[in-house]
Symmetry: C2
Subunit: 426 residues, 2 copies
């Protein structure tokens, strides 16, 4: 039975600081989600003695060690010979894997360098883990350490290959090695506007720790809430759905999506659902809202135009904001935001438009309008709304928050919810 | 003398996969740049026995162990008591640090929770490392392991606090502990348009491995080339500058900046230097160029407007692209790009304008115009240029490459260089 896991990453690019070890993060997330305890994460460069040291330390701590990296075809790829040595096994040549590597090179119309056949050698007892996307397969094996059985899983370091191999082969194998009678059920909620500590309080208020594992992943301004439980196959889904219902009731419209979905995608679907087209008028957000909306494939079906009017003259000429309004209220005002939104909607002939104007800083703040003052407005046939927000942080941060608010307004409008309830609450 | 370093990160957020260990990456980069050998990177959760295990393993391998995390005020912050135990020392209370913490809370107008005073306790022999940005100071100490002196550096896990403390206090102390007779000299070049392998060939062709350490950091589409050498204080700067001259001669205008500078900042400075204002007309890049230009503080001085015209109607109405051109050549054409650029410049009254139109995919490609076809145009009083590029990759990737090309065109125009030489070469 597997319960304690160590994750081992090999490669000079990690110890030289060229890249962050995102493979380890991804694996730690997957393993934690399956209810495993990740006891250590280790990274070493391409040195035989350091790889051996890391493996022995990992095997002393964990039932299962998952390694990535060091499976390439060149002489500094040392994982397999190191693993064979610590298993006390010779290498065996796998002709089937060799043929597959040759076929992959033929399919790409390229000559196979002879050293690529290094990837067809495995420790004698290893079970090969197929790699549908690359030439280096992985493998698993087992050994005894500290009077107990230890499992070794060896995967390549190329992220997309490793992800796929884990999800297709390693994950199901681990699931079977944990506890064959139960399954894992999960639900993920994407939220905006509630702080992580407030989410913790509110979700913790409706779900007890013994009912499900609750975790939070903040990549501000969005925070994902994840529920995970393990139960018998005929009960797990019903139980998680019951808990999910409580979270939905508690968080309401602060949840903008479930599963792995972005705010941009949600907005796109909501606009499509309402048969609406959209235009934007951006000042302080500088094009970021348009950029985000157009990250979604097919957005040309509902996105018409974005008028980034940075100067006052541009606000007048492009969006038809009146000189009087600019003079009386200043560029950063709800009044100007409303005229910008109305102007964008009219000019583009769109169903709905959102406008932003604000002070992203670091210069330009005043006591009445400090850096972080941002005005939003929405214009549609059924309503004209505006609101002033006091945001905070650095320039890029204020732009990001502004874009998230604007997208949330669009989502709320398209779903027939109250727009002005969007924002940051405890 | 310090030469081998281990980096140790503490926190459940690492072993649960909530975050990637970017602190370790940052420290590995800093240490490698100083010529140190990073022998291992370790991460463990907030468990006393695991933190102890990680420290002992790190101290067995390295002259210096740098730890981050576990210095917070709550009961799951265990670093200091663990370190004191492995040093065999009691904790001492530092009244000066305690007063500073109290003063910080007063300055924020907040009550200090009593448990914050935990951050004023240190192992008896520890030398405090000031934290100008937060309440948790770091410290350093030393011990004996394996018959040799080992140095311990303990820092908080909050990145911006840790970065500052390392650069202000730890880095200079390490530099003095490496080899007092020599200093490190570095040069960093920001490049665009040359692949990493081609850079490696070309830079490797003008600088021998024994002259300087050459490293590359790719966060595509930009790649930084870094030179590093160690020499006597009166020789290091002269030598690195001589090598830098060879790199400049070899790479020419593919270098867009030196040191830590972004393409957006370089463009801003170049436009300011020429006294120029800029307008944009974006189609496939969807606002990303405007977003990037406005990430730079003070960009309102030269950035007037960005017309994101996604639909054909918007291209006609907003930018004055002729219906005939759209019909004859299609929206993705050099002809339309030229009219978009000219229209944006005229409408905004700007000195220069750049336009993009292309197919970001994944749908919409044809044999004549496959996904990745992108046309750029630049309009200024002195020239009207356009070019068709065949880019590659996913939707977000094509948008990013398009924005980088457009910014590079603006840079080249503002510096009086040939615009169309921008692009991707071997």
């Amino acid at each position: 039975m597997i319960s304690r896991v160590a994750i081992l990453s090999t490669g000079d690019e990690l110890t030289s600081g060229k890249i962050a070890d995102t493979n380890a993060q991804w694996l730690a997330d997957r393993c934690s989600s399956m209810g495993l305890d990740v006891v250590a994460v280790l990274g070493v460069g391409d040195h035989r003695d350091r790889i051996t040291w890391a493996w022995e330390n990992a095997l002393a701590q964990a039932d299962l060690v998952i390694s990535t990296g060091g499976l390439g075809p060149t002489s500094d790829d040392l994982t397999t010979e190191t693993v064979a040595a610590l298993l006390g096994e010779p290498l065996r040549f796998d002709p089937e894997v060799a043929n597959r590597i040759r076929a992959m090179f033929r399919a790409m119309g390229r000559e196979m360098p002879e050293n690529n056949l290094r990837q067809a050698y495995f420790p004698e007892s290893a079970v090969v883990i197929p790699n549908p996307l690359g030439t280096a397969p992985g493998y698993r094996a087992s050994c005894r350490r500290g009077g107990a059985d230890r499992q070794l899983v060896v995967l390549p370091g190329v992220p997309r290959e490793m992800f796929r191999m884990f999800d297709e082969t390693v994950g199901p194998w681990i699931a079977g090695s944990i506890d064959a009678r139960t399954v894992v059920a999960t639900r993920t909620f994407q939220t905006f506007g509630v702080s992580e500590s407030a989410l913790d309080e509110r979700v913790g208020g409706v779900i007890r720790p013994d009912e499900a594992r609750i975790s939070y992943r903040a990549s501000f301004p969005k925070i994902a809430v994840k529920l995970m439980l393990r139960d018998l196959p005929d009960r797990a889904e019903g139980r998680i759905e019951e808990l999910a219902g409580r979270v939905r009731a508690e968080l309401g419209t602060a949840i903008y999506g479930e599963g792995e979905v972005s705010m941009e995608e949600v907005v796109g679907r909501a606009l499509t659902g309402r048969g609406a087209t959209v235009a934007l008028a951006e000042s302080c957000s500088g094009g970021l809202i348009g950029h985000r909306l157009t990250e979604v494939p097919g957005s040309s079906a509902y996105f018409i135009a974005d008028y980034v009017a940075y100067s006052n003259a541009a606000k007048r000429d492009i969006l038809g904001v009146s000189a009087t309004t600019l003079e009386q209220h200043g560029a950063v005002s709800e009044e100007v935001a409303r005229e910008m939104a109305a102007g964008a909607r009219r000019r583009a002939g769109a169903t709905v438009a959102v406008a932003t104007t604000g002070l992203a800083g670091p210069e330009g703040g005043t006591p009445e309008k400090p850096v972080g003052t941002v005005c939003l407005a929405l214009s549609a046939a059924d309503q004209e709304v505006s609101r002033r927000h006091q945001l905070w942080g650095s320039r890029d941060w204020i732009k990001l928050l502004t874009s998230q608010l604007a997208l949330d307004w669009l989502r709320r409008w398209a779903l027939g919810l109250s727009v002005v309830e969007s924002g940051f609450r405890k």
